[in-house]
Every structure is written in structure tokens, then in C-alpha cells.
């Protein structure tokens, strides 16, 4: 019998909702069958904890006396440049930003000790952060220089707003060349020395809702240890990639833009991270509840690692040159076994996304819902689906001297 989100919320309020994680639902469906599982279970919690470069926070620091218009000027937080193209005291701090004086990879391959992701972690941890700003000064905003410590508790707003998170599936990265390469998928040893993957697999949100039947704009989520919302489909959203019969995409596909109050979040779920020879980023913890409205949705959430397939991509040549060819397909059970076969070679695997932390998030969200602290939401609008024809296009470059 089909359920509605309203009915599930009534159960949550009474403390009677049956909530399980996307890992637990697998056994329940195996043991009880799909029909009974769909009837008994109200919510399945999904989660992921991985580096997500398209993340950042917008902040309103409050007005100084006399006033300064940072907008159109320059500002840094702990020496990391922030975007200052808004009104007087609104700034946006991006996860991959680096201090101007950071040597980048001039000292090869590059250490990247501190950047935007780390500033976000420090802010969330309640540490004082150094704000330095310069402006051109106007009649209404005469001040030209500002140097001060700021703390998240004193900021008017601090809002995490990530344009692209929660990738529905991701590539497995390998290196076919004869030198070590340093990538956002970690250090890749030459001649297929290792294979790195980055998805929570059977726990990952969009792999459990492959056609975005329940996750949409306005969906309330666990974001960085606090509460957030799906704001939009993420950038590079690509629902039209090839899918298995289960509906699960066989390559990176859908993405989400998410938003939430940074002040409620916790540093353990927003971690600054460094990829040696690549740069800095932010590791973000996200949990998304899926209401079990019918058997079909229940079936989607019971997906297993062995039924989720993805592509092996060479990051020495194919990825940087934008050649899409895959070296083969593997599933997450194979990836998690510690070894996969690529071109007849046994290759050890490494994760980038933490499965054990994803389990912790799925369990935390489960507890919140069971206690009645977290109600589900109806999406305000759907994400562009497979039928929309929405795709991820490359840039068509046009010469300037025409």
C-alpha cells in the first residue's frame, strides 16, 4: 500500500516511524521480500562523506564604524582570498581558495597546507579567524582598511552553499603512464599502481534514488552535522548517462546544490582536506532521507554494492585531455574487496570517500528521525530527470580575434 510523506511525518511525530539505513534495508528486503519491507519501513537514510570541491560559505560580517564597502574591494580570511563582489559586507569563501603567497606547485608537486576548506573547518570549530579587507572608500562607506579577528558566533549570517555535491556515482581513477601523478583522486602510482574510487556506493544518496523520485528541490537533509536543504540540481548535473536495468547510473550523473546554516554545523562533518600536488578542498558529510512511498522506491533503496557499476578512467591522459574512453567497468563490491582487475593486472584500490563515516551519518540521521527531531519534506520541484534531456556540455571555445 502506498504511503504519503504526510502520513510518514505523522508517524515520525508519534515516534512510531520505522527508519533504517540504506545498508540495513538490503537485508530486510532479502529476508522479508519487497512488499513487506515497503509496507513496514517508512524511511531509508542514505549518506556520503567525501571531498566536494564545489563547496563554500557566504558570510555577512556586520558593519564597521565608520562603514567599509568590501564589495568591489578585496578581502581574506586567514590570508585565504574570498569573493568580494557583493554588497558592503557580504563575502563568499570557496573551498579550493589558496593564500596569495602559497607557492602552489612551484615547489613540485605542492603541499597545499591550508586553504578555503580549512578556513571553513576552523570557523565551524569556533576558532577566531583573521579578516583583512581593503576598499576604495566612498562617501557612504569611507573606510579603506579593516583588520580584525572574527568568530562564527558573532557573524550575522554564515551559510554553507555548495553548488555541486553528492555526485551520483563517480569514476575510478588509474594511471597508465610511467610517472606518479597527483590528482583530486589522490596520488596515482604509475603503470596501474593503484585505483582510487569515490562513492559511498550502496549508501550514497542519489544511487538510492536513481530517478530523483523523492529527492528534489527543498528536500531537508543532514548537512555538515546540521540541517540543510537541497537548493537546486547541482552544477554539471547529467541525468542522461547510461544506466543499468536497476536505473542506477554507470558513470557520474546527477548532482545536488545544497544549502544550510553553517552555525549549526560541526567540524567533524566539514573537514578541510589537501590533495598532495593538487590543492585543497572540503570534505562534506551529507545524509538524505528517502521516504518509502511505494515498493518501487523501496526497491531502489535496496541496491547493493555488487549491482552498482562504474567506469575506470585513466587520469594520466584520458581525463586531462577530455577523452571519455573507459578502461572497463567495475562494481563497488569489487572495489571494496581491495583489488580490481584492469587490463589483466591486479590493482589495489583506495577509497577517497569514507564509508564508515557515511554509515555514522546514516545512523545519526536515523536517530534524529526516530526521535521526532527531523521531519521529511515534500520536494517543491523535481530535479531534471533522464527524460528532460538535460546534459553536461563541454565548453565550446571561440577565438577572440574575430
Amino acid at each position: 500500500m502506498a504511503k504519503t510523506i504526510k502520513e510518514i511525518n505523522e508517524k515520525i511525530k508519534k515516534g512510531k516511524a520505522v527508519v533504517v539505513t540504506a545498508e540495513e534495508i538490503i537485508d530486510i528486503v532479502d529476508k522479508k521480500g519487497l512488499a513487506k519491507a515497503a509496507e513496514e519501513v517508512d524511511v531509508v537514510t542514505t549518506a556520503t562523506f567525501g571531498p566536494m570541491c564545489s563547496s563554500g560559505a557566504y558570510i555577512n560580517v556586520g558593519h564597521t564604524k565608520p562603514k567599509i564597502k568590501i564589495g568591489g574591494g578585496k578581502a581574506t580570511l586567514n590570508d585565504v582570498p574570498v569573493y568580494a563582489g557583493f554588497a558592503a559586507v557580504d563575502i563568499y569563501l570557496g573551498a579550493t581558495a589558496l593564500p596569495d603567497e602559497d607557492p602552489r606547485n612551484k615547489l613540485y608537486p605542492g603541499d597545499f597546507e591550508y586553504g578555503g576548506g580549512h578556513v571553513i573547518e576552523d570557523l565551524v570549530a569556533g576558532k577566531d579567524v583573521k579578516l583583512v579587507a581593503s576598499a576604495y572608500g566612498t562617501d557612504c562607506y569611507p573606510r579603506k582598511k579593516l583588520e580584525t579577528w572574527v568568530n562564527i558566533k558573532d557573524l550575522n549570517e554564515a551559510v554553507l552553499f555548495n553548488p555541486r555535491n553528492v555526485y551520483q556515482n563517480y569514476n575510478v581513477a588509474v594511471n597508465l603512464s610511467d610517472r606518479v601523478i597527483y590528482t583530486y583522486m589522490g596520488t596515482l602510482k604509475p603503470h596501474l599502481g593503484n585505483a582510487n574510487y569515490c562513492s559511498a556506493g550502496q549508501l550514497s544518496p542519489l544511487l538510492n534514488d536513481p530517478y530523483y523520485k523523492t529527492i528534489g528541490i527543498g528536500t531537508r537533509i543532514f548537512l555538515g552535522g546540521g540541517i540543510g536543504y537541497v537548493a537546486w540540481h547541482g552544477t554539471q548535473h547529467n541525468p542522461t548517462v547510461k544506466r543499468k536495468e536497476s536505473g542506477v547510473t554507470q558513470a557520474p550523473a546527477g548532482t545536488l546544490a545544497v544549502i544550510g546554516d553553517l552555525k549549526q554545523m560541526k567540524p567533524e562533518w566539514l573537514r578541510g582536506a589537501t590533495f598532495h600536488g593538487y590543492g585543497v578542498t572540503l570534505t562534506v558529510g551529507i545524509g538524505i532521507p528517502i521516504p518509502i512511498l511505494n515498493e518501487q522506491i523501496c526497491k531502489y533503496t535496496a541496491i547493493k554494492d555488487e549491482d552498482i557499476w562504474t567506469q575506470i578512467i585513466d587520469y594520466s591522459e584520458n581525463y586531462p585531455q577530455g577523452k571519455g574512453s573507459s578502461l572497463g567497468e567495475v562494481n563497488y563490491a569489487q572495489l571494496k574487496s581491495g583489488h580490481i582487475k584492469v587490463q589483466d593486472k591486479d590493482v589495489p584500490t583506495g577509497g577517497i570517500s569514507s564509508y564508515s563515516k557515511a554509515v555514522e551519518i546514516a545512523n545519526t540521521l536515523k536517530t534524529w528521525i526516530k526521535k521526532g527531531d527531523f521531519l521529511l519534506t515534500e520536494p517543491v520541484a523535481s530535479l531534471p530527470g533522464e527524460e528532460s534531456g538535460y546534459t553536461f556540455k563541454p565548453l565550446k571555445e571561440r577565438p577572440l580575434d574575430k
Partner: protein, 135 residues
């Protein structure tokens, strides 16, 4: 026979002494240098694997200590900051001695420091800087 990995800190006055030579000649110990670095006028650091008779090993280490060399077991060399580790597993295929291994049940990364040879490859491979070198 014993086989042990140790970290030796040489104060600057000993940097120009043939200490390791004496371990071979007087104590009949075989050595394998795992890591060596000398900062002129400051100190020298040597990570050694020593092989030999138990008695010779003990006397050899005593000789080192009496000469003014600070001796530490290697297992204290690379440590994991448990509060920082997110158990992502990116270090696992980087580790040449399988000292970092994913537990198939918990999906957490176990660090077996008895297998660690302090090559330090994990230090920079770790995105959250959870692996630390302690001298």
C-alpha cells in the same frame, strides 16, 4: 637471532664518528639503512634495521646509548592521529608494507605500526593530515 628497527638520534658532536661501523665490527650486527638525514651542526637521524644475536644486539644498543646516541624503537616513528583520521582509505594502496589495511567488516582503516617502515609515503597522501611523524 633478532631483527629490530630502531631510530637513532645523533647529537652534533657524534655526527662525524664511525658509530655504525663499530656496530658491525665489534658487535657483529648486520644493518640495513631505512632512512638517514644529517643536519650539519645540529643532529643526525638514522633509521636502521639491525640483525644479529640477541646478546650482541643488546650490547650494541648499550654501546650506542653510552656513546650519547638516543635510541627509540621505530614503531613510535609514524603515528596516526585518531581524532583526525576519517578512514577514507586513500592511504591503503600507497603503503608499501600493508601497515594500513581496511577492515572488511567495519570499513575502517587499521594501522599496524609493527609493519610500518616509516617510509612516510602516507604522510602527504593523507588528505586530513592524520598521519604524523614523531621523532
Amino acid at each position: 637471532m633478532v631483527s629490530k628497527k630502531i631510530v637513532l638520534h645523533f647529537p652534533n658532536k657524534l655526527v662525524d664518528q664511525p658509530i655504525v661501523y663499530k656496530l658491525v665490527k665489534d658487535y657483529n650486527l648486520k644493518f640495513n639503512i631505512l632512512k638517514a638525514s644529517i643536519t650539519p651542526k645540529e643532529e643526525g637521524l638514522l633509521v636502521l634495521e639491525l640483525n644479529g644475536e640477541e646478546k650482541d644486539y643488546k650490547q650494541g644498543v648499550n654501546y650506542l646509548k653510552e656513546s650519547g646516541v638516543k635510541v627509540q624503537p621505530l614503531s613510535r616513528d609514524v603515528v596516526r592521529n585518531e581524532a583526525k583520521c576519517t578512514h577514507c582509505g586513500v592511504c591503503v594502496p600507497i603503503c608499501p608494507t600493508a601497515a594500513l589495511v581496511v577492515d572488511p567488516l567495519t570499513r575502517k582503516v587499521n594501522f599496524y605500526n609493527d609493519k610500518c617502515i616509516a617510509c612516510e609515503l602516507c604522510i602527504k597522501a593523507c588528505p586530513v593530515r592524520a598521519m604524523e611523524v614523531h621523532f
